[in-house]
């Protein structure tokens, strides 16, 4: 199989596999966040479980981190190779005549998501590591809800958050069906899966945005 992942098609398959993993993860992440709208206690409970369970902490979390880094690093490599494949660019190119904006700008939507992820990690993950391992604070299984809500108090955060998720929606608007095609399946070309892809690309980002707006307008 070694030779396979060195080929252009193998790299595409690797890209799609990491993308499927990330798309699956987003469903779980949204589900957990959504509980914060309905029950602070349930959200705290789930967060505490995720934050303390060794399986989640030492097996799933590193896999996730690897998946994210793998996806954008390979994305950069492919983009760089693709740029190299056309040294002299067109004087006039009418890309809109034959493809969608989303499909032509995966790199830019990806970069916005990446910028978001940097802030996201600084906010939650670095904080978690700090509290748990460096400046150890007494374990407080109810702190998560307030930490979450606090983040959505400044309006600039809510706006930046929403913009990032709109770009994620555009990334997924092309990416969802594209990943099937990369895996050699023509299912992404059928109406049913295209509709599922559109639904996914709208529902996931919209869900996160609604949670942000909810907490912004309901914090006490």
């Amino acid at each position: 199989m070694g030779g396979f992942f060195k080929s252009s098609i193998g790299r595409k398959v690797a890209m799609a596999l990491s993308a499927f993993f990330l798309m699956f993860f987003l469903i779980i992440h949204l589900t957990v966040n959504m509980t914060s709208v309905f029950s602070a206690d349930l959200f705290n409970e789930l967060s505490h479980f995720m934050g303390t369970n060794p399986l989640v902490q030492f097996a799933l979390q590193p896999v996730l981190l690897f998946g994210v880094v793998f996806h954008f690093v390979l994305g950069f490599i492919l983009e760089w190779k693709n740029k190299k494949a056309r040294k002299v660019t067109y004087f006039k190119n009418n890309g809109a005549a034959n493809s969608t904006w989303m499909s032509r700008n995966m790199m830019y939507s990806g970069l916005v998501i990446l910028a978001f992820l940097v802030i996201h990690f600084a906010d939650f993950w670095v904080h978690e590591i700090n509290v748990k391992y460096i400046n150890v604070e007494p374990a407080d299984p109810t702190r998560y809800y307030h930490e979450l809500v606090e983040k959505f108090v400044p309006i600039w955060r809510v706006v930046a958050y929403s913009v990032a998720f709109i770009l994620l929606g555009l990334h997924l608007g092309h990416g969802f069906t594209s990943a099937f095609q990369s895996m050699g399946s023509t299912a992404g070309r059928k109406r049913a899966l295209q509709n599922l892809g559109k639904a996914y690309a709208v529902i996931i980002p919209l869900g996160f945005i609604i949670i942000a707006l909810y907490h912004h307008f309901n914090h006490h």
Binding site: S7, S8, V13, R86, K92
Partner: protein
């Protein structure tokens, strides 16, 4: 019709080229795009200037030579056609039309609008064939039963004329529609099975070696392909390569 043209001029492979403005008049809307180019070239020749070099051969949409990137699209704004099949009625009197060579690092410019597409030949030579004994006792291909569905799909893939519009159009200069068509054409037929593993491996390896980019599934190639080659052929090539490695 009177037209303003902006055309890429480049003396040879190593020269630096640039866009040059030309005016043409007396263009009939019934002319093909290449006939319009002929009119322009006659004007240039009568003025003692160097005519614009462009590729063409059949002038009926079957050889795939007439590579031109017109107003930002391979073979111009019409669908399902090559440049020689593009009619001037697609344009309006007074229009400005940009004409550029197909661009890809793997398709270097030879002169003006002429590019070297021999990278496609080398991909074909790497595996785009079947080995048949032609010493006089060749088996009649029609004696091998083939389902109608497979025959139709193979024939659809085989209509690829190797024009390179897919590469020129693709934002990544990917050749996957071309290679997908060539792989599919054999993968669907019993005659293609014996060399299937080596074929897809070698053709993809050659494609990568030539410096074509990676497909990102924008679907632009399928829209601009004069023969309507389907993106499904790329998916099939991906499956064939996975199978070949398992």
């Amino acid at each position: 019709m009177k037209l303003k043209l902006k055309i890429w001029r480049q003396k040879n492979a190593s020269a630096k080229g640039q866009m040059v403005d030309y005016d043409v008049s007396d263009i009939s809307e019934h002319m093909s795009f290449l006939e319009m180019m002929d009119v322009l070239n006659e004007q240039l020749i009568s003025k003692g200037e160097d005519p614009i070099a462009f590729d063409h051969d059949c002038r009926e949409g079957i050889c795939g030579m007439c590579s031109m990137y017109i107003n930002g699209e391979a073979h111009g704004p019409d669908r399902g056609i090559t440049t020689c099949q593009l009619h001037m009625r697609m344009f309006k009197d007074g229009d400005t039309i940009t004409i550029e060579p197909f661009r890809a690092a793997a398709f270097p410019v030879i002169k003006d609008l002429v590019v070297d597409r021999s990278a496609f030949d080398r991909i074909q030579q790497a595996g785009g064939y079947i080995s048949v004994n032609t010493s006089g006792n060749t088996q009649d291909a029609n004696t091998i039963p083939i389902s109608k569905h497979a025959a139709d799909e193979a024939m659809d893939a085989a209509t690829c004329i190797g024009c390179g519009a897919c590469v020129a159009t693709c934002k990544n200069s990917s050749a996957m529609l071309f290679v997908g068509a060539k792989v599919s054409q054999y993968a669907l037929l019993p005659q293609g099975q014996i060399e299937a593993v080596d074929r897809v491996k070698n053709m993809v390896a050659q494609m990568d070696l030539e410096g074509f980019g990676n497909c990102t599934n924008t679907g632009a190639c399928e829209i601009e392909c004069p023969k309507g080659i389907s993106l499904d052929t790329i998916a099939r090539m991906n499956r064939e390569l996975m199978k070949a490695h398992i």
